[in-house]
Symmetry: C4
């Protein structure tokens, strides 16, 4: 494997964990970011149970696509098997993020998808944010649930029932963006609905917004 | 155009974006501030998709009142057409702000104006904060909806349906203040109403408060 | 007047405004702290419409107990008349704070006192936090409403209807503490009640807690 | 007693109070952390009514297991008797934390346990977070209520009715973690339930998650 490549990804993934904290997506140590090593059957991920304050690029560990530790002094995140499954099943995915962010997890605790009633949600998620099945940690159940749900929706985010959020992206930064936007829309739609009935957006308008945003937003 | 004037506005608009972050009005890159260049058919605005951390005065772009890029290395905000329309239609406006701040956007997701039940709301908004029409990005629809709604209300803020907030001011700082106060009253009135019926303020008292605040508050 | 005394109070009051910001009690410039000058018919207070970032001890102005500016280059807070009335009517009061903190103001927008269902609320407020009358700015109406309400309750905080919070204390720091605790209990009791019926505390227990806290808490 | 040991604990406990502030668990001075001195009938605890900003390792006081001040210049926390009772009754406990964190205290104000509907809650608490009895400060009532409730549940956190949260741990850091996670799940489950009925987790799954987390999470 290219050490240069891996070291750069460790730095990126270390820095991106600070975005989880800054955007109020995580409590204590409960959330993690990983990134696929391009051209290798490897990914880098947070070590288990380490405070975000104590994360360094060197502490980020390297795993193969079975989730087995390949390089690093610490045990990988307890969610490593789920990340590994996503990388095996979805070759276009370059980054995965997992959080228990409060508003998104609240929808998951009700087993209820977030309806698409905001143009920003149409832009980023292309429709509702779906709920995946209840699954226990310890085997491929969580990974299978994530992949089965995401491959049948445009959304880069899935709410795993009674658990929390997994997001994907072309790289780790895109997956972090999806995690931030998921909590933002989960919160806004929750607040909106506690005040009364939501105003729907027509599916054609959602399609229009999604296609435009995916091609025209940001710098080329 | 006066380079001195434009450079100073770029610095101001760059700094004011930090107020959007500090006041919790924006997630990721979703919000923007613009300022009209006095005496010119130009305004300065945030580039599209750039992190607030990475904004510099130099990265702020200059557009003409059709929203066409005139100066700058980056693509302008995807909301540039809406800002441009407001500057064309409302010559007294010197600054425009757009956010998806959560509580204000929640009212917009229900297509419901925020009732004026706080003296601070009477002061700044002179009555309810109105909702504008649903409009798709890509032409003048959003700009037209903003202008049609604001020209029939005293409020410097409009909630665009299923979308978010646009505010105006004599300059960019005043528009940012309106965006901050809009979210503050959207939140307080939301919290209030989840606990029971709201106590109205008599329209004459709203008028009295609005007139006094617009003339007597702050330093002369 | 003793310049030394006044200068020290200006420093204290300047610093205490930062506590309003840190404790999320204020948006933009909407909140102010004042302190009586001991042994003089004077108090120091925030100037009107100045950002908390820009406050300096020198910018804090001095007023007499009619609310007339005695020393300082800026216009005093638009709430000066209310502060002045409290100092005239309640000689034991050494500090006054005014905010529109969101949860407390939400109760005020419903004209509803906050019921005493927390031991911390019994400690600090000795019972419910009462609501004062609706009153327009511009004369002594607000001051009269504050004093009439506070003199008939043990609470150092009053929720002025459709407006916000005024708190008093033996000095400005005690009034700031009351403002912080008022928002904290307003938020906790609001959250509690949105989930179901509240558990009352027996009035005798409230009395016991209040008396103990007022004599036994903190350092002697 | 070992001065070295006590000094190290004072430093730890001082630092851990900053975590209460950072995680938004405390307003003003209302929350405290203590740590048992290993091998001694002593514990260290916050002094009463001191601002978190002003805490230093030297200001942390030492008490015996009756709650009597043994070393230090300041009066111990007004909650010292409750901490002392826990250390006397539960020899395996090395740290105790008390807060009035808003969401957890809201459940306590309704006398309602937090149902276990999140996998993260099963992990850390092994089931619901129980409510302890209403108890007045001044004798062993609070301590007895804490111990009676915690010894009949797996949860390291108890919601004392109309009061707030007490958490325990093998050391002070573990008790702080439990306090942070308690508020996090109290908030998420509150938000979830305001939106509709909660999805339960099967008790066997809760058992499975709890056992796994207690043995397999983090670094060995």
């Amino acid at each position: 494997m290219s050490d240069l490549n891996v070291d750069e990804l460790r730095r990126q993934v270390c820095t991106l964990h600070a975005e989880l904290v800054r955007n109020d997506l995580v409590a204590w140590t409960a959330g993690n970011v990983s990134a696929r090593v391009p051209g290798e059957d490897l990914f880098v991920i947070k070590p288990s149970g380490i405070s975000y304050d104590d994360l360094t690029p060197e502490s980020i560990v390297v795993c193969d696509l079975d989730g087995t530790l390949v390089e690093g002094d610490l045990m990988p995140s307890s969610d490593t098997a789920a990340h590994a499954y996503v990388y095996r099943a979805m070759p276009e995915v370059g980054g995965v993020v997992h959080t228990h962010s409060a508003y998104a997890t609240a929808w998951a605790a009700r087993n209820e998808p977030i309806p698409c009633v905001l143009t920003a949600m149409a832009d980023e998620f292309g429709g509702e944010i779906p709920v995946g099945p209840f699954a226990l940690i310890g085997d491929d159940s969580i990974g299978k649930g994530i992949v089965a749900t995401l491959t049948s929706h445009r959304s880069p985010a899935v709410l795993m029932r009674n658990h929390g959020v997994f997001t994907i992206g072309k790289d780790a930064r895109a997956a972090v963006k999806a995690a931030v936007m998921c909590e933002d829309v989960a919160r806004t739609v929750h607040i909106a609905r506690t005040g009364g009935p939501l105003q729907p957006i027509h599916p054609d308008d959602i399609d229009h917004l999604y296609r435009r945003y995916q091609t025209a937003y940001g710098q080329r």
